[in-house]
């Protein structure tokens, strides 16, 4: 299995605070990796670094063998890294379809002149993009909400739209930041079912998750971060047995 995402020796300092201290992770093609750790362990920071939102203090990020550490986040998106955010982030005043449409733009050149005139070719392109957007929403089971403004939708629908937007870029690697957070048990099961079936067929996934049960059930691998260091990298089943992991969580009931 080839390594599609490689994180080599990533460190991140914020002033005097070390958020990440030399993290190495290799993600193989088609894997579903769970990134876990107590609050403040550095999970979101790592995501931000992989996605290019913040630069690392040291280390490298390689995508399919190519060093993308110096690339701006929009360039990385064009190379195949997509992500969702811990706080639901959407284009609030737009409909679900328009949100996904924004994500599709990277697949077509801007073609401003044709757009200004409104050539038939341009309009056909637009229609095709809209159809693709709708299909993506259908894929995640929220096709009926396509014309609704996202800011007025409940959290469950919003989270699915954020995933659709990220998927629109047709990423190689998809970073999901706590996809189940804030959702009811039923909604988060639905989300994870989608992630582990439909979505994982399309790309490699790394997800941040607090809920150990979800990680054990759905992920191929679990990576545990603690105070910016990797303390476990392997089978999710082995999590409860590993002493370091247990110590890190120190009596948190969720471990069962």
């Amino acid at each position: 299995m080839s390594a599609v995402l490689e994180i080599r020796g990533i460190t991140k300092q914020f002033g005097g605070l070390t958020a990440l201290a030399g993290v190495d992770v290799t993600v193989g093609e088609g894997e579903l990796v769970g990134l876990v750790g107590p609050n403040g362990a550095g999970k979101s920071t790592l995501f931000n670094i992989i996605a290019g939102a913040i630069p690392p203090t040291g280390g490298q990020v390689l995508l399919e063998g190519r060093n993308v550490t110096r690339l701006a986040s929009h360039d990385r998106a064009r190379h195949g890294i997509a992500r969702t955010f811990q706080q639901v982030t959407l284009f609030g005043e737009l409909t679900a379809r328009d949100n996904v449409l924004q994500g599709l733009h990277r697949h077509v050149p801007s073609r401003v002149l044709a757009g200004l005139v409104g050539t038939p070719g341009y309009r056909a392109e637009q229609r095709e993009l809209e159809t693709r957007a709708e299909r993506l929403l259908d894929l995640l089971g929220i096709g009926t909400h396509r014309d609704e403004v996202v800011s007025e939708q409940p959290l469950g629908i919003q989270k699915l739209v954020t995933v659709a937007v990220a998927l629109a870029t047709e990423p190689t690697v998809l970073l999901l930041d706590e996809p189940g957070a804030g959702l009811s048990h039923e909604e988060s099961t639905r989300m994870m079912d989608l992630v582990s079936t439909v979505i994982r067929r399309r790309c490699t996934i790394v997800l941040v998750e607090h809920n150990m049960r979800i990680v054990s059930r759905y992920c191929d691998r679990a990576v545990v971060l603690h105070f910016g260091q990797k303390i476990y990298d392997g089978e999710p089943g082995g999590l409860t047995a590993d002493q370091r992991v247990v110590d890190a969580y120190l009596g948190v009931a969720e471990l069962a």
């Binding site: 959407l90 924004q102 990277r106 757009g115 409104g118």
Partner: protein, 322 residues
């Protein structure tokens, strides 16, 4: 249906003027100019940038063309383009720096820019100082200098139709659509994460916006036949913002409606400048408080009110910059 109405309007705008008296033509000219200014501003307001300094770019356009015509005797038509280009160039240079700021910081920086521009024009004799530059010529058209209101009206109409047409289509293209994704710092981050180069889009939008301001500003200067630091002031910038807000920011038609209605109204109140400002300000406040969505939403007022009532619940005291 809509196209038929537009074609009819266009025909009227072309065919009727020879029958009108000069004052009516003056009003029409001012309405057309303000419509272009308002729609040019709208380009950047769509992406969440509030500018209280657009008059500065308009002034740059006006002065550039005026200087080229009076000092170098250059063709006025070229002067128009030069005005637009000068404003666009300045926008590109300053945009690189100011577009990184958001919210009130951006607004203040553009405002400061406009004040600096006017201060520079006032301070140096090259620009005519506080008196400005007089004797700015009208363009020549096949050997005839367009000194009449009617003649110049067609110049303004032509420029306005082209500009408004371009700006309308721009909003309708993917480019315009992408600008909607850049409204706040958060959505900008989201846009970047799906591959949109936010900085490039913002700069391009800003340059386009200022180009049309400069272009129309140049035309404005040649219409008045003089330019001075007291024409394109902070109050002018504020008027443009009022046209946008009062008209409604939901679509291209909002600023157009706002600028046409308020300019026509303003010309009626031409008598005392301060009455005009008062009326504009009151209309603005009424629209903001009672007509969410602007004047253009008047037909759908009830829905807008209901939607707003939903949003009123549990708002925090601190309003963070969007």
């Amino acid at each position: 249906m809509k196209t038929a109405a537009l074609v009819l309007l266009l025909l009227a705008l072309v065919a009727l003027p020879p029958l009108a008296e000069p004052y009516m033509l003056h009003v029409a000219i001012v309405v057309l100019m303000n419509a272009v200014y308002a729609e040019a501003l709208y380009v950047i307001m769509r992406m969440g940038y509030l500018s209280f300094g657009h008059a500065g770019y308009i002034a740059v356009g006006a002065y550039t063309s005026a200087l080229l015509a009076t000092k170098l005797g250059m063709s006025v038509w070229l002067g128009f383009l030069a005005g637009g280009t000068a404003a666009a160039l300045l926008a590109w240079l300053l945009g690189m720096v100011t577009l990184k700021l958001r919210g009130i910081y951006f607004s203040l920086s553009v405002f400061a820019f406009a004040e600096v521009v006017n201060a520079v024009f006032r301070a140096f004799d090259f620009f005519g100082g506080p008196a400005g530059i007089a004797g700015v010529p009208r363009p020549m058209f096949f050997g005839v200098r367009l000194n009449t209101h009617l003649g110049f009206y067609y110049v303004v109409l032509g420029a306005a139709v082209i500009s408004l047409g371009f700006l309308y289509r721009l909003a309708a293209t993917r480019f315009g659509f992408t600008l909607l994704a850049l409204r706040t710092r958060d959505t900008e981050g989201l846009a970047e994460s799906v591959g949109i180069d936010a900085a490039r889009y913002k700069t391009l939008a800003f340059v386009v916006s200022c180009f049309f301001c400069g272009l129309m500003g140049a035309i404005h200067g040649h219409y008045l036949r003089f330019v001075s630091p007291f024409v394109f002031t902070f109050f002018f910038s504020t008027d443009l913002v009022i046209f946008n807000m009062a008209g409604g920011l939901g679509s291209f038609w909002g600023p157009l409606a706002g600028s046409v209605l308020l300019t026509a109204l303003g010309e009626q109140l031409f008598a005392a400048g301060y009455y005009k400002s008062l009326v504009y300000a009151v209309v603005l406040l009424v629209v903001i408080l009672a007509l969410p969505g602007g004047l253009i939403q008047l037909p759908r007022l009830r829905e807008a009110w209901a939607a707003r009532r939903l949003r009123w619940a549990k708002q925090p005291v601190a309003t963070t910059e969007r």
